[in-house]
């Protein structure tokens, strides 16, 4: 009786993991590490580009009056190079943060999924020990299918 209760508890724990905290970890473990990192970096590259140009738009909009007054005396090349350098620095910082975050998340996901798999394995073992007729039935089914 107690063994059944333990099994039910273990099953509830595993289901809670699958639907709760482990959902994201199980999704991450479908990727290879390099694939996941590459995907995150590509996604970040596009999003950071959009964010940078949106910030630039806000800065230009906020100083529109000044820029309109000084547009003729402005060195466009210098301004362009500043924007480019700013973009490279912004992108570098953002990609570095994303890379570190992705590595940490993947590592954590790997660890938690390993624990989940161990629990799942021990649950399977316990189920076999509990009901030997089931394993006999499995063998019988396998024999029939052959």
């Amino acid at each position: 009786m107690l063994a059944d209760e333990d099994r039910v508890r273990a099953m509830i724990g595993l289901t809670r993991y699958e639907n709760g905290s482990g959902k994201e970890a199980l999704r991450l473990r479908k990727y290879y590490r390099t694939d996941y990192l590459a995907l995150e970096l590509i996604k970040t590259f596009f999003l950071a580009t959009i964010a940078y140009f949106l910030i630039l738009t806000l800065l230009i909009a906020g100083n529109a009056e000044y820029l309109l007054d000084h547009v003729n005396s402005m060195d466009i090349r210098l301004a362009g190079s500043y924007i480019l350098i700013g973009y490279i620095v912004f992108m570098g910082i953002y990609l570095a943060i994303t890379y570190i975050r992705a590595i940490v998340r993947y590592g954590r996901a790997k660890k938690s999924v390993r624990e989940y798999e161990n629990k799942l394995h021990s649950l399977k073992e316990a189920s076999r020990e509990k009901d030997p007729t089931e394993s006999l039935m499995e063998l019988f089914d396998m024999g029939k299918s052959k």
Partner: protein, 342 residues
């Protein structure tokens, strides 16, 4: 204290029995507070200020996940900004997009700070959200608190220039943009508040993780003091014009609210704390176990205090249980009986 703990336990029991309904009601009330605050703080658009629309939206939020509330609040704030002109609306939309892409993308679970931070700041409880997030979340929650702070200052800027914006024609876009965004990035008060919130959150998080008794309460008080210190430093060093009396009163109120929330979320009984040491093949473990505070434990302790006072000729110890007379038991006979039964 015992009464409070009893109240807490009753509330927990009631919540356990009716959690499905209580969740819906709480989410509805929370959405109402957020949406009506936006209406009160902005109120430029007749559509987005319509009470029926707000109530319908709050009803929708009450049955949807909690993350929907900041999304709806963002839509309402942007909609209200559109009431001042298409330029103000687009700029608010762009600010939200930048915040989501840069910050909220990394911490979607903390998106509630995007609406709670500006709301509590407008009520004067400046450090409330950073203290609460420091107590319950991780340091990365700084990103969501900073986003909320930026939204608050953009709303304030729109509110202070709303009359001028209403008078100006849309064709005077350069002046309008100057009013909507001018000096936003160089707003000293905003920068001081961002720094103060970051410091408060990190310090509260660091202190509450320490293993001394009452670390949570100490963390709350330190959080409030750090915010006041930043406000004073901002006024003295950078030249901001923050009202120190309001900052101090707001910090004190924030500390009290945070302590109440902390009591309902986690209250522990430090008098029963124990330090344990044990080891396995790989590690030594130094564990501090603190029991949860409960009304039953408090009552038990109070009664044990009164019982332990020694009376005349008696000690405060428990009465000794009389040992059974083992020698008089005939074990052989008992064994034979049990074998017969078998």
């Amino acid at each position: 204290m015992t009464t409070l703990l009893e109240l807490k336990e009753k509330m927990k029991t009631a919540y356990g029995s009716y959690s499905a309904y209580v969740d819906i009601v709480l989410k509805f009330l929370l959405s109402c507070v957020c949406f009506f605050w936006i209406r009160m703080a902005m109120g430029y658009s007749s559509i987005f200020s319509n009470i029926f629309i707000l109530l319908i939206l709050a009803l929708l939020c009450s049955v949807l996940p909690l993350k929907v509330i900041p999304i709806c609040s963002g839509i309402l704030i942007t909609g209200q900004a559109f009431g001042l002109g298409i330029d103000a609306g687009i700029i608010m939309l762009v600010i939200y997009l930048v915040l989501i892409i840069m910050f909220i993308r990394f911490i979607p679970d903390d998106s509630l700070a995007l609406i709670f931070t500006p709301m509590t700041m407008s009520f004067g409880f400046f450090p409330l959200v950073p203290i609460c997030f420091g107590l319950r979340r991780k340091p990365v929650s700084i990103l969501s608190v900073i986003s909320g702070c930026i939204v608050y200052y953009q709303i304030s800027m729109l509110a202070s220039n709303a009359d001028q914006l209403k008078k100006l024609e849309l064709s005077e876009y350069a002046t309008r943009l100057q009013l909507i965004l001018g000096g936003f990035a160089a707003n000293k008060e905003m920068i001081v508040n961002i720094l103060a919130f970051s410091a408060v959150l990190i310090i509260v998080y660091a202190v509450r993780r320490m293993s001394f008794d009452h670390s949570f309460n100490v963390a709350i008080i330190i959080g409030g003091v750090v915010y006041i210190a930043f406000a004073v430093l901002g006024n003295v060093v950078v030249g901001t014009t923050m009202n120190l009396l309001v900052a101090a009163a707001g910090s004190a109120a924030a500390c009290i609210i945070a302590a109440i929330l902390q009591f309902f979320l986690l209250s522990v009984d430090y008098t029963g704390s124990e330090k344990m040491e044990f080891e396995d093949d790989d590690y030594y473990y130094y564990v501090k176990a603190i029991p949860k505070a409960s009304a039953f434990r408090m009552k038990q302790r109070q009664s044990s205090k009164t019982d332990s006072e020694p009376e005349d000729g008696e000690h405060g110890y428990l009465p000794l249980v009389e040992k059974p007379d083992v020698e008089s038991v005939d074990f052989e006979k008992k064994l034979e009986d049990s074998l017969k039964n078998l």
